[in-house]
Amino acid sequence: MSTLLEIEERIGALLAGEPYRLDPAQHEATVLALLKDELAGAGERHRPLRQYIESWPGDYRRCPRIADLPFLPVGVFKNNPPLALVPPAEITRTLASSATTGQVPSRVVLDAATAKRMTKGVMTVIRDFIGPARRPYLVIDTPDTLAGRGELGARGAAIQGLRSFATEVVCGLSADATGQLRLELETLRECAARWRDGEVLVYGFTHVIWHQLVQPLAAAGLTLPLPNARILHSGGWKRLQAQAVTKDVFARGVAAAFGCPAERVIDFYGMVENVGVVYPDCEQGNKHVPAFAALIIRDPLTLAPVAVGQQGLVQVCSVLPTSFPGHLVLTEDLAELIHEDGCPCGRRGTAFRFVSRMPKAEVRGCGNVEIARDRPAAANA
């Protein structure tokens, strides 16, 4: 088994290279070998995880494909305390997902080394899409979202992840005493005047950008003239789908708000359980997998990887974490496999498109017992 130091070096090599240039076979072999060693290490440090890995049908050490390795369903990251591969003293930060009301958020723990790799992972991917230059960074969120060193939400984590590209950071929203978000129009106008035709990076959660920036500006008939802005957004479409805001409608709306071409609006997919790996849309509308990650789309009926053109459950894989077991995670998202290689954009390897969050199961019928009878009903309200 490789030592943690050796593993660190191999991860570093993948992070240092071009993210989308590896030959798919070489990529598979490199990541597979690394993931096996990381699984072994994780099992050494976490007894229950070892129990899980060893109960997996087939010995992971002999698995010929990444798709055969034991994966964890994303739901285990809702456990409390969160799954950790390092002692509490080494945890520097806990990231929490943006669970909607009433849901339990996922939580992952980071130590200093993992946090560093996460930042580098995001930088490596984003640099491939927007270039390496630093530029003003406009955050469509409040300063509070960035605050706090202990537990950080998904929005905060995504905002922080792009900070390395910033010469300065400006938040375009503020919150009043009740938590209601408000557009800082004067600040935004002042920034637009100052930054004018220069490259600007804008980031926000998809629904926050739409509801707190695009709609208010459109209602007021205003534009923030930043023709060279790159607008990155993430966080999912669920809240906008209900309002029939498609990806295209969104991109055109945002482009109109900044007076820039719609092609400069980039949607990316990511999640705290796969922190450090983000999947921006390429100019073909596809998402790509960087060298230090892998992605499998599984048929829900068999859990086998799907063929090109088919849809299934997304499994994200990453070599980056060593503080939590986020190496192989079966998500609750559905995606379509577009290419195994050969996207016209030039990026090598798997290309996919996000389809939707997994729909909720239909009512499970007469065997669906939700309330223990001896428990008073009021206790369940």
């Binding site: 049908p57 994966f71 456990n79 829900p300 009926l301 459950l313 079966l330 009512v363 017992v369």
Partner: protein, 429 residues
């Protein structure tokens, strides 16, 4: 041939269909004997090519036979049920009459439930207004088309109106509830609660089936018997497989009572073989992604638990065995995921039942002990105690409720002329 299932869009559609049914029930006499004949013929058609592949057809084929339904009818309505007359009850006479129109809200998870439910009310002579859940429309249509072919004069089908509408159409659920004199409601907690709250007439009788879960239990004499073990495991697998473990009668957990020198692992190995074999015989052809996700999560959460936990499963979501110890019923996953829990004493597990357990499937070596366990289970809310392998046999009573009798009125006639008095008078002449 008309489509046996109509999509309705307005409350008036429902009112109109209910009025038609009411007229039929009022105007025509119902003959249980003739109905049984027709149902027997219907059962036979379910062996035909095409129909035999329908989910649940094999079960329905047996259940619709006279040999199944006649005893059920006799037990619930008495020996007079077939001669159409009155049966004596001391000095009085009794006879079953239909309630009128019975509304049926079957659960969406059991393909044959619309048919099972309507047949129960039909045997009481009622008109049946059945809301077919969206996911069951195709299979129910195919089954009902078989009956339509046989029942040209509408003896049975004239008393049945199958309708479908989106489950969110509260106005249509309400319209249906207002038209019925009785209701048979099946389903999970959320669905049952919602239907029960509908504006039924004050006189309407409600028979509620579900939400419940079921449990299997074996003593060491049963599970540690190397000869009988394969057969028991096969029975358990069948009980788990039927209805994809989503029925209220599906076992979610198997309690194994510890026995001296008995090796649980041997039993679990046998159970794995039985699960794999059952899966080969009855593979899934589809699954909801959320169920796949729930199965994966159940496996992981179990193994991330105490060190005593073990699990066996294939790389697919086909089946899962979770082995541990304890007498609490774990949260059911369904989808062919069986928790196998070793307990020191079966009564300890039964003592924790809280009324949610519908069926207790048993394999107990000692009959006297089984009686004791059944007594304890009944006291703790269990409504059916059956042999393993027979957990889904749909019989009466179900959920502790008769299937036909709740939807009939037992009319009592005490003759105005005392027959004994008349006899005495005439003999004095």
């Amino acid at each position: 041939m008309n489509d046996p299932i109509q999509t309705v869009n307005s409350p008036e559609d429902i009112t109109g269909r209910a009025a038609g049914l009411r007229e039929v029930v009022r105007q025509t006499e119902f003959s249980p004997g003739a109905a049984l004949e027709l149902l027997e013929l219907w059962a036979a058609t379910l062996t035909e090519e095409g129909a035999e592949a329908l989910p649940g057809a094999a079960f329905l084929r047996l259940w619709l036979r006279r040999g199944t339904l006649e005893p059920l009818l006799l037990r619930e309505l008495g020996s007079g049920a077939f001669n159409g007359g009155w049966q004596t009850d001391g000095r009085a006479k009794l006879r079953a009459f239909p309630l009128g129109i019975v509304g049926h809200w079957p659960a969406g998870n059991i393909e044959i439930q619309p048919v099972l439910s309507l047949v129960c009310a039909l045997l009481g002579g009622n008109g049946c207004l059945v809301r077919v859940p969206g996911g069951l429309v195709d299979v129910t249509r195919q089954m009902m088309q078989q009956l339509q072919k046989l029942d040209r004069d509408g003896r049975l089908t004239g008393r049945i109106a199958l309708i479908t509408f989106d489950h969110t159409r509260h106005d249509l659920h309400e319209a249906m509830a207002r038209q019925v004199d009785g209701a048979m409601i099946w389903g999970g907690a959320e669905a049952v609660t919602r239907v029960r709250a509908l504006p039924f007439p004050a006189w309407a009788r409600l028979a509620v089936f579900g939400p419940r879960l079921s449990v299997a239990a074996m003593d060491a004499a049963a599970w540690n018997d190397p000869v009988a073990r394969p057969a028991w495991c096969q029975r358990i697998a069948r009980d788990v497989w039927q209805f994809d473990q989503q029925a209220c009668s599906s076992p979610q957990v198997l309690f194994l009572e510890r026995g001296e020198g008995a090796e649980v692992i041997r039993f679990v190995e046998e159970l794995q073989r039985a699960f794999a074999a059952e899966n080969r015989a009855h593979p899934r052809d589809q699954i909801h992604p959320a169920l796949t996700s729930a199965i994966c999560l159940a496996r992981a959460q179990w193994l991330l638990g105490p060190a005593t936990h073990q699990a066996w499963f294939p790389p697919t979501p086909d089946w899962t065995l979770l082995l541990g110890e304890g007498d609490d019923i774990p949260k059911p996953t369904q989808g062919r995921t069986l928790s196998v829990l070793v307990v020191d004493d079966l009564p300890d597990a039964i003592a924790k039942f809280d009324g949610t357990v519908q069926t207790l499937g048993l394999a107990i070596g000692d009959a006297a002990r089984e009686d004791t366990l059944a007594q304890a289970a009944g006291r703790r809310g269990v409504d059916r105690i059956v042999k393993l392998g027979r957990m889904h046999v749909f019989g009466s009573p179900w959920d502790g409720v008769d299937l036909i009798r709740p939807m009939v009125r037992m009319v009592r006639h005490v003759p105005s002329q005392d027959p004994y008095q008349n006899q005495t008078k005439s003999s004095c002449k």
